[in-house]
Amino acid sequence: MSPYAWTWAAIVAAGLLAWLTKLAGHAVPESWLEDPRVHRIAAFVTVALLSALVAVQTFASGRALAVDARVAALAVAALLLWRRAPFIVVVAAAAAVAAGLRALGWG
């Protein structure tokens, strides 16, 4: 096969594996979900994964850590959430702070 065809094969394989991974989670046996321990861990897992994602999206720059415009934007977002601002306001304010700071040449 040509390199082009191999790339296609890898794309289809990656798609199939991605879907099977997602399906595996939905297909866990009912009896597992009824186990209180599995139930508790599943509830904490989504909090842990999403929190880790926020941290990485805020501070990671490739494999280095950086303090830049994103940190200021997230601080403003946290303040607004604490003041019970609506979702769309929080998201728009974060974008505006980051874009504004970058336009001023910082971060």
Binding site: I11, A14, W19, G25, A48, A52, A55, V56, V97
Partner: protein, 227 residues
């Protein structure tokens, strides 16, 4: 038409996430994939982190199988999301389950579980509207990015990277009412950042699941568990 809060969240998340399809499309073509391959990745893999990793490996001169392996590894967290969503989505079978699996990503999970636990219908609405909304926006804008290529600007200039992080923060926020959930969130964030310089991409976020296992293993009081 007035949309309720759940649908408003779903639409704003879909647009903000979809906008990133522009950089994916452009990066993928720059890495040497053609427009069809780029669109196939967005349709079939449909998980931003996995797709950026796939074209990143190809762009760095790696082989297609290394690209597929890295992409799969980065997608493992979607499996955990499925377990968390199962109690909300069941009963679900056949084509509906196949579609639910395809659109099980960070965004659809986050919006679903940000809705009140005693309002299952709102959780399902959040899941489907966000999952399908991101799917449509992501694929359409991927095509645009692939066609425009390097002529587009950097989404970071518009603050969209910070908007994505803020959206996830807002979505996880209601689940941090109790001390134990706050401790899990803080522990997960610190662990992920500590691992970022030393572990391969994907590991830092996935490793945070260990914190959740520790927190859920013992016997926390029921009200401490984020529903």
């Amino acid at each position: 038409m007035m949309l309720d809060a759940t649908r408003q969240q779903a639409l704003s998340v879909s647009l903000a996430t979809g906008a990133y399809g522009l950089s994916f499309g452009a990066l993928s073509v720059a890495a040497g994939l053609d427009v069809w391959q780029t669109c196939a990745l967005s349709l079939l893999v449909f998980s931003g982190g996995s797709q950026f990793a796939f074209v990143g490996v190809i762009g760095a001169g790696g082989g297609p199988w290394a690209a597929a392996a890295t992409s799969t590894f980065l997608g493992l967290r979607n499996g955990f999301y499925g377990v968390g969503l199962a109690p909300v989505m069941r009963p679900i079978t056949g084509w509906r389950r196949a579609w639910a699996a395809q659109v099980t990503i960070d965004e659809s999970t986050a919006v679903a579980l940000a809705q009140p636990a005693d309002h299952r219908e709102a959780r399902r609405t959040g899941f489907w509207w966000t999952g399908v909304g991101v799917f449509l926006a992501w694929n359409a804008i991927t095509l645009l990015g692939a066609l425009l290529g390097s002529r587009i600007g950097d989404p970071a200039d518009w603050g969209l990277d910070a908007a994505a992080a803020a959206a996830f923060l807002a979505l996880v926020w209601p689940r941090l009412a109790h001390r134990r959930a706050q401790a899990v969130a803080a522990g997960a964030a610190v662990l992920a950042l500590a691992l970022t310089p030393v572990a391969p991409p994907g590991v830092p976020v996935l490793a945070a699941a260990a914190i959740a296992i520790l927190a859920g293993w013992g016997h926390p009081r029921l009200e401490e568990v984020p529903e």
